[in-house]
Symmetry: C2
Subunit: 178 residues, 2 copies
Amino acid sequence: MTTGHVFIATSLDGFIARPDGDIDWLHEIDAAGEDHGYDAMMESVDGLIMGRKTFEKVLTFQDWPYTKPVFVLSRTLDADAIPATLREFIKVTTAEPQVLMAELNQKGWHSVYVDGGQTIQSFLRNGLIDTLRIARLPRLIGRGVPLFGMLETDVFLEHVETRSFSSGLVSSLYRVKV
Amino acid sequence: MTTGHVFIATSLDGFIARPDGDIDWLHEIDAAGEDHGYDAMMESVDGLIMGRKTFEKVLTFQDWPYTKPVFVLSRTLDADAIPATLREFIKVTTAEPQVLMAELNQKGWHSVYVDGGQTIQSFLRNGLIDTLRIARLPRLIGRGVPLFGMLETDVFLEHVETRSFSSGLVSSLYRVKV
């Protein structure tokens, strides 16, 4: 079965963005020029799944940052919102997480990068996440969009490894226990 | 000035207790028999400050675990709630955080262990925390009492060091930047 992988940065208090979606506070870490493993992770996956909010945020970036196929989970997104130059890379889908993962499995995908707070939470609740790499910035922002959300039952993880960087970023890799 | 120090364990999703205050899920880590630095930290401080809820939780333990003086922040706690055998170690105070820290400074205290979610948040907002050691357990519990809360402005931290343990616990020490 295709495995889902999370690779995300949060504030020390667990937020992935400010309440308005602002992620400018993350840029100081990018500026440090350290290799936090993003390129290697991106190389290892067959493509991406993200929620609409994350997709719309990425669309505001100067350049489209992905070279691999992207599935956007949305019931409301208008296909016209996707720039014509990107339509061959991006598919909007209303499929439930399990259904989408089964479709990707059929397509021969081994692994997929799952991004966006609500999408990650939904995939976790559905047992569709295999690993999470969480990079914590040394900053408390006090409020915002949380990485994690409600769960019906505890999720047990195996700690694989942790690396820390001069910038103050601490990156931990966990595998979800099944 | 007396410095405040946090030493606390949280779930990977940032909770220090379940919604009803239950911390049984922390015991698997205690059972691992690893030295996470608690004794050294406790040795280094002159005493403790905690909120009423934390105090009432500690009172349910089989034995009173502290040998150093404890200040309990409360406007409602009845002195009769304190067992007679503990009254020489425990003082209930309604002092504001800054006032209490100034009093401790007058008494010659160099450092104090600050415990309990609301108390930690209040001391952070008032700039009274010098270091935080946060130990993350490899488990998501989905809901509960959060370690961190609202802040008026970002709090910038310096990452000092991170250690990980066979149990899966990852412990990071931060110093608050001033």
